[in-house]
């Protein structure tokens, strides 16, 4: 293990993500959902009028912060580069199914570990699913399943600016709300940390994560590939330690299986939902959080994943796919199975054979 500058950035990213992931809940976000990219996407899709669940409509400033923070970091580090052109439609569909998997589990990979560090033992099924999913994805990569290489020449110059521009418009919407923007007055979307704090945390995390390439599924992937030599292992440990300490010090550690906030006890579907997220994340190169960060640094393929995630955020609510404490609806089960259909068919069709 080399403790170089990159390692410091990775560990710092993990620490900040874990700490703020809990503290945003303390400051007003829903329990165990201080940072949850899938929840934020569902909330924001609702705020933009893409679904009509009156309890899940709020344009989350953290989401805007992640992309614009990453954009600022990429400019500062001279790493902003428009690139893309690799299996765009597959990536769009993957973005949709990432949110399906998250909605069936109730949370993205970041929230998975936030739930775990708050003592929600039902999340263990999701942890297992995510690890198995990432492992299967890696096996696929080893067998030649690839979406193709990102190419600056395949993406028109300047196309990478579209995602930051879109989120800049969302930032404008936050401060000068247009008439079509909706904000819930009840339910979990009515719970939020103060706007400026949320935005500042989002910008900070986006900035740091762009430099470190920190990603939950990326951490698991690197650990499976490189073991203790992987810098992301230490980033992951820092994330878990910071979140656990923050939960303990705020009296938010309540170990148990039953009655946990925003969780259900359909373990097989939690496993499958996170398994789908893990597998897809390996194929498209990062978890939902990493896709947001990459879209901020000029990756137009990641921006397509983000667009797919917004469609997913709308439809998991509109089509009764999202799980609740009551369990996973039939629509959610069918959607997860459909996601695996995409993974399997895609793997067959996209595989490079000798």
């Amino acid at each position: 293990m080399r403790f170089d500058r990159h390692m410091v950035t990775v560990v710092l990213s993990g620490l900040l993500l874990g700490f703020f992931g809990v503290m945003l809940s303390v400051w007003g976000n829903p329990e165990n959902s201080g940072i949850c990219v899938s929840c934020f996407i569902e909330n924001s899709a609702g705020a933009l009028g893409l679904h009509n669940n009156p309890r899940l409509q709020y344009l989350r400033p953290e989401l805007v912060g992640f992309v614009l923070g990453a954009f600022a970091s990429a400019l500062y580090r001279r790493e902003f580069r428009s690139r893309g052109g690799s299996a765009p439609l597959f990536r769009f569909a993957s973005g949709f199914f990432l949110i399906v998997g998250c909605a069936v589990f109730i949370g993205c990979p970041i929230k998975l570990f936030l739930r775990f560090t708050a003592g929600d033992l039902t999340s263990l099924a999701g942890v297992a699913g995510l690890i198995v999913g990432v492992g299967c994805g890696l096996k696929g990569l080893a067998k030649g399943v690839e979406l193709g290489r990102l190419s600056p020449s395949a993406a028109p110059r300047g196309s990478g600016l579209l995602a930051p521009a879109a989120f800049l418009i969302f930032l404008l919407f936050i401060f000068v709300a247009p008439s079509f923007l909706i904000a819930s007055e009840k339910g979990s979307s009515a719970q939020h940390a103060p706007l400026l704090i949320s935005l500042a945390v989002g910008l900070t995390l986006g900035f740091v994560a762009q430099g470190s390439r920190f990603c939950i599924t990326g951490s698991i992937r690197d650990i499976l590939l490189m073991g203790r030599r992987a810098p992301l292992l230490w980033g992951g440990i820092a994330f878990l330690a910071a979140a656990l300490l923050a939960n303990l010090s705020n009296g938010r550690f309540n170990p148990g299986f039953a009655g946990q906030p925003g969780s259900h006890q359909e373990y097989i579907w939690s496993f499958l939902g996170m398994g789908l997220v893990g597998w897809l994340s390996v194929l498209i190169g990062g978890c939902p959080f990493r896709q947001l960060v990459k879209s901020g640094e000029g990756d137009s393929d990641a921006a397509l994943v983000v667009a797919g995630m917004f469609l997913g955020g709308a439809l998991v609510q509109g089509w009764n796919i999202a799980a609740t404490s009551a369990g996973v609806p039939l629509g959610g089960k069918i959607a997860v199975i459909s996601g695996f259909l995409l993974v399997f068919a895609g793997s067959i069709l996209l595989r490079e054979r000798e």
Binding site: P30, I106, G187, G262, S263, S325
Partner: protein
């Protein structure tokens, strides 16, 4: 980068478009405010109307409850429920009456059905919030329900009661859903 004539035309058009966008956005502010106010008004009216209608519809039930006539309240509730069988408020009131009667498993089942239909009843700030009653119910019944279920795990009624109480506990704990 050397700009040719076509670039210059495009840049001019871009500048004109930006100016037009700013001008039209600025002009739309009064309309925007009106639209927001109208929608807020509509939403508040709908919420008030719902509260008023429910209070009126279920007045015989709540009247009987306040008078301590629990059986009477249940009968009145059945009457209203024949007209509005899928209304969450009916399930919530049933839960509350059964809670007052000491039938805790029935109360939990009623609350669960109501909250699954309308999560407002678990919110702190909702006008019909039953959060406190539900919190007391869960605290009171869950330990006994769990031990009863442990003693006879094959009993589906006990299993369902534990599941209902755990659902209510989870909703009380919050989370994003």
């Amino acid at each position: 980068m050397k700009l040719d004539r076509f670039d210059k035309i495009l840049l001019s058009l871009l500048a004109i478009t930006v100016v037009a966008l700013v001008v039209y956005s600025a002009r739309s502010f009064p309309e925007k405010t009106t639209a927001i106010e109208t929608r807020s008004m509509e939403r508040d009216l709908a919420a008030q109307a719902r509260v008023g209608l429910l209070e009126k519809l279920y007045a015989p039930v709540t009247g009987a409850m306040q008078a301590g006539q629990k059986q009477e309240a249940l009968l009145k509730l059945e009457e209203v429920n024949t007209r509005y069988p899928g209304e969450a408020h009916g399930f919530i009131l049933k839960g509350e009456i059964l809670y007052r009667m000491g039938i805790l498993d029935g109360a939990a089942a009623g609350f669960v059905r109501g909250i699954k239909l309308n999560g407002d009843y678990i919110d702190k700030n909702s006008p019909f919030s039953k959060r406190n009653v539900i919190a007391i119910l869960v605290e009171k019944s869950l330990p006994t329900a769990l031990s009863a279920y442990k003693n006879s795990p094959s009993n589906p009624v006990l299993k369902e009661n534990v599941a209902n109480l755990n659902y209510l506990k989870s909703r009380l704990a919050g989370g994003c859903e």
